[in-house]
């Protein structure tokens, strides 16, 4: 009782300190985010400058006269000093103006808006699968640490770290699509279903459900399940490994012994006490894994002809469409950077030990 009162008395001051910590944490996050995103813009600008393709030639062709060449060059702002060019580039990048794609002739940002939801759909489902299986698997391995089961979980994880994702994707297509015919093949929908769903969120499964098109929905699921399981496996490899390490660390703490001595059931000790203390770092692990999947889906999308941002970047690359490549890189990079730093912030905000 007296302890409670003591805690109460100390509370206003602590709450003030906590609020301050939260504020400074958020401010630090925003500052780091701004600096890192600025760095990203610098890097893509530099990449755009060293590219051996002459952007003027790409527009005027190699038969244009010197006059035309010079005029187009001036129109594109390429005769300005580099620093001025960068300033213009930065302003445009911040407002989402990445120029036009030579390949699709649309503004790059419009393209990205149609392609990005497909990537989010895939990466989200992958992370959900990876988390739902990875965490129990990691807990299981930590509880039976050193046993054969632990070794098997470790090998499953190591295989995930070692196998080329595009190759596994091809093999999965060969087995489950071509041989067993359990799932639909590459692409997002069978051609017959194209255009039947109006794009609202851009995620076909969500749109089909919202518009009550169950047939289209199941077709989309059948296309989605294989690449999502594949990404889920990679996320599982990482999440199960981290869960095991974090939980092992907690299980070595004294409060766990206390809980056991109190006579709590082992299930309760693990799930309610130890895992709860590992929850915050685990959350950051899941966020990080999500960021990695957003990026890592480049190869998976290519294998499964999934019309996401990864396919968009690689397609543009093969056609020397630098506006699209750099715009796509910036958007994926910004999403990755934000999630990456967000996981850091979450850790600081949610875990009182870091204050």
């Amino acid at each position: 009782m007296s302890l409670d009162q003591g805690a109460l008395a100390a509370r206003p001051e602590r709450r003030g300190a906590a609020a301050l910590a939260v504020l400074s944490g958020i401010a630090g996050f925003l500052l780091t985010l701004a600096i890192t995103l600025f760095g990203l813009v610098v890097v893509t600008f530099v990449i755009g400058r060293v590219v051996p393709i002459d952007p003027v030639l790409a527009v005027v062709g190699d038969r244009a006269s010197g006059d035309v060449y010079a005029r187009v060059r001036a129109e594109m702002g390429l005769d300005l000093p580099l620093i001025e060019q960068f300033r213009i580039y930065l302003v445009k990048a911040v407002t989402g103006d990445f120029g036009r794609s030579v390949l699709t002739t649309n503004p790059v940002i419009a393209d990205i808006r149609t392609y990005f939801p497909a990537t989010i759909e895939l990466a989200t489902l992958g992370t959900v699968i990876g988390t739902l299986i990875g965490i129990p698997l990691g807990v299981f391995a930590a509880v039976r640490s050193g046993s054969l089961a632990d070794q098997i979980v470790r090998i499953v994880g190591l295989v995930g770290y070692s196998v080329p994702i595009f190759w596994l994707g091809l093999m999965a297509l060969l087995l489950f699509y071509a041989r067993l015919d359990w799932v639909a093949g590459p692409g997002r929908l069978d051609i017959a279903y194209d255009y039947m769903v109006a794009p609202v969120t851009g995620m076909v499964t969500v749109d089909a459900l919202m518009q009550g098109q169950t047939e289209v929905f199941w077709n989309a699921v059948s296309h989605l399940v294989l690449p999502a399981c594949l990404l889920g496996y990679f996320s599982l490899a990482y999440i199960s490994r981290m869960t095991r390490a974090l939980l092992l660390n907690e299980l070595g703490q004294e409060y766990v012994i206390t809980a056991r001595v109190k006579g709590l059931s082992e299930t309760r000790v693990i799930w309610r006490h130890a895992l709860r203390n590992a929850a915050v770092p685990l959350l950051t692990v899941v966020v990080l894994s999500y960021a990695t999947l957003l990026e890592g889906s480049v190869l998976t999308e290519t294998v499964f002809a999934w019309p996401g941002i990864g396919s968009y970047i690689t397609n543009s690359l093969q056609n020397a469409d630098m506006n699209a490549v750099l715009g796509g890189t910036l958007v994926v990079g910004a999403a990755f950077v934000t999630l990456n730093l967000l996981s850091d912030l979450l850790y600081r905000l949610l875990d009182p030990r870091t204050r």
Binding site: T32, I35, T36, G39, L40, V43, T44, I47, G48, V50, V51, P52, L158, V159, Y161, S162, V163, P164, I165, F166, W167, L168, L170, M171, L173, L174, A178, L248, A291, L294, E295, G296, V298, L299, T302, I313, T314, L317, Q318, M322, V325, L326, T329, V332, G333, F336, V337, N340, L341
Partner: protein, 304 residues
Amino acid sequence: MAAASPLRLWLTTSEPRSRMQARLGGLYQGFRRLARNPTAVVGLAVVVLLVLVAAFAPLLATHSPTAGGDLRTERLLPPGPVFWLGTDDQARDIYSRIIYGSRLTLTVVVLVTVIATPIGLAIGTISGYFGGWIDRVLMRITDIFLAFPRLVLALAFVAALGPGIENAIIAIAITAWPPYARLARAETLTIRNSDFIHAVRLQGGSSTRILLKHVVPLCLSSVTVRVTLDMAGIILTAAGLGFLGLGAQPPTPEWGTMIAQGRRFLIDQWWVAAMPGIAIFVVSLGFNLLGDGLRDVLDPRSVR
């Protein structure tokens, strides 16, 4: 035990006569600890095998890696007694191509390591040793690179520099150094105020000398572990770039490029794409197993 060889006695003596003997003895002890970990031994065996295969590729290969056979009769043959792992669409022997491909894989791993490790070590030790604004600027740059998506960045670099194995190596190296810098900085922070560093400074040792002769060697073991663990990732990234057509160009027998070529015949001639993938998988698994084992040996803090 009584029949211990003189060499082992020399290696395990508690009073080494020379620095060389002490060093070799330390290596031997480390190796003994590594040898007790069965999965690490498997990893080491795979890596040694990779080096041997790369070195003796001309002896091991049964056919030319780039010149095709008879296009009418030897295209897309399944694995058999003449072509052990089958042939591709140019009637080339897949087994021989994989054997020669090991050279490329090894080149990529070695070159990326040779480029990225010194950069990381230099930035990390300088940052940790001098502190102050140098530290802040260098670490900010490192953090920026660390927060970048590596594969997408490598993609953009290769797009700018043009496809090819050399540019792929440069691109991977540019994205690979930041973790080493972080690690080297952390190590440097723990040793920069130790007595022996003060002693060297009092004797008039320059900062360069302290960094190169005393700080860097102490950072090496933890960085080595990290580099070994990263090698699988390097191999996978290089193969991924090859698969996207941005790494090694055909007809180079690069494993990722080979998978991309086999993709067209996936359904009917699965072995063309399957075999190089198995090679990539085995080699990266080997590096991962070895890295795990090395971490337990070299990094006393992570011992469970």
